[in-house]
């Protein structure tokens, strides 16, 4: 138990710290592809996937981990659930891991989203909607082969090589762009502390850190008897189940997600970003509805931006890549209605006023 608590919280805290410090938000990253024509966070995600895929390939071949894609995945449930999750994270203002992080930096909307997310995920997982979920997940005709390598009859090594070519292309192209000078806050620290707490972290640096944490998490978690890597949705729901029913015992994943909150809290306290941020009625409703959609979608689709977007992808599972694609589609559809339409309306109104 001591091992589970300490390693789980430490791994989660490292992840929460890096999320907070690097301002690494996949919700914002996917959204900005549409509303700001900015793909940097998407490229950073691909880089994090590559780091993790390479690390797990090495650990697997050394026999240290047994990280595989798994036999089949529920394709219909995955598409529906992931799309819904994508819409939900735009309303809630952050993905599943993001709500833990935002709760840690003092955002009340993060807490609201976290509670409604956990509640709906549990209703779907073990509550009254379980049979509905299983009716979409379990039938054989709604499941397909999950390993991309098996589908094409190649090895994961080839896929890692292909992915690294794609990632290197985008990363080098991005790094070659002329640097613009961006205003920063006046530094208060020097040396290592300045680098750790103040200097702007490049998204690619943050991505590499996240990839490394993802690799390390696997053997640490497996050693506790939980053979999987980073994950948010099921662990979050299990905490609620434990608190309400008291039957199950806590596992490594539960301390991982609690660690994210702690890491984000410590980081935001040190950087001066922590603040109790209250939320107005509209924000509270958005966070609640968004959290419900996230819990519903992530449980139906078996994964969130971390479970599918970062881990499933690095195992080269169809589940991971298709799930990520449908999360992005959901994010874009929601962003169009939440950001682009109102922006166009306001610009038109301003033009009309100035005339």
């Amino acid at each position: 138990m001591f091992y589970i608590v300490t390693t789980g919280i430490l791994t989660g805290a490292a992840l929460g710290f890096v999320f907070q410090r690097g301002k690494f938000c996949l919700t914002g990253g996917f959204r900005d592809m549409l509303i700001s024509k900015d793909n940097r966070i998407f490229y950073a995600l691909l880089l994090a996937i590559l780091v993790q895929a390479t690390g797990l390939l090495i650990l697997n071949s050394l026999g240290i981990t047994n990280a595989t894609a798994g036999a089949t995945f529920p394709w219909l449930a995955l598409m529906l659930g992931s799309f819904m999750f994508g819409v939900g994270i735009i309303l809630a203002g952050g993905c599943a891991g993001g709500t833990w992080q935002k709760a840690g930096q003092g955002n009340f909307n993060g807490w609201i989203a976290l509670f409604s997310f956990a509640l709906m995920a549990t209703i779907m997982r073990i509550g009254p909607l379980r049979s509905f979920r299983e009716s979409l997940q379990l039938p054989e005709h709604l499941r397909a082969n999950n390993s991309i390598a098996d589908t094409f009859g190649i090895s994961n090594l080839i896929l890692v090589i292909l992915l690294s070519i794609i990632v290197l292309f985008f990363v080098i192209r991005e790094l070659r762009k002329p640097k613009i000078k961006i205003a920063t806050l006046k530094p208060k620290r020097t040396g290592f502390l300045h680098l750790l707490l103040e200097k702007r972290w490049h998204p690619f640096f943050t991505a590499i850190m996240i990839g490394i944490i993802g690799v390390i998490a696997w053997p640490i978690s497996a050693f506790s008897g939980r053979n999987s890597g980073l994950g948010i949705t099921t662990p979050t729901s299990q905490i609620l189940e434990y608190l309400v029913l008291g039957e199950s015992s806590l596992n490594w994943g539960n301390f991982l997600v609690i660690g994210i909150l702690i890491g984000a809290f410590v980081c935001s306290k040190l950087t001066g970003e922590f603040r109790f941020r209250t939320v107005d009625a509209k924000g509270a409703i958005n966070s609640t509805v968004g959290g419900f959609m996230m819990g519903f979608g992530a449980t139906l689709g078996v994964g969130c931006t971390i479970g599918n977007g970062l881990v499933g992808t690095s195992l080269f599972s169809w589940q991971g890549w298709i799930g990520t694609l449908f999360i992005m589609l959901g994010v874009w559809v929601a962003s169009y209605f939440v950001y682009i339409l109102p922006r166009n309306k306001k610009v038109k109104m301003n033009v009309a006023i100035s005339k």
């Binding site: 959204r31 203002g93 003092g106 205003a183 806050l185 935001s268 001066g272 970003e273 939320v279």
Partner: protein, 74 residues
């Protein structure tokens, strides 16, 4: 001329989205001051200003977790 956009309490990316709209309502050379408390905006507001060619004349912490940035329209 300085115009104030009070975005304290608004979640990202609302401060940035509102700044993009407000900057269109002021004249070249005038200032848009944005007060905000969402941490991501400490990154995305100055980045947007730099990418759009506007000049950041002031960027400071008001209190813990609240910041102000003044942007001179190009």
């Amino acid at each position: 001329m300085e115009k104030l956009l009070d975005a304290v309490g608004k979640l990202c990316p609302i401060p940035l989205e509102e700044a993009k709209i407000e900057i269109e309502t002021i004249n070249s050379g005038d200032l848009l001051r944005i007060d905000f408390d969402c941490p991501e905006a400490t990154e995305n507001l100055p980045r947007w200003a730099a990418e759009s060619g506007h000049e950041v004349t002031n960027f400071d912490t008001i209190s813990e977790g609240v910041w102000t940035v003044s942007i001179k329209k190009k």
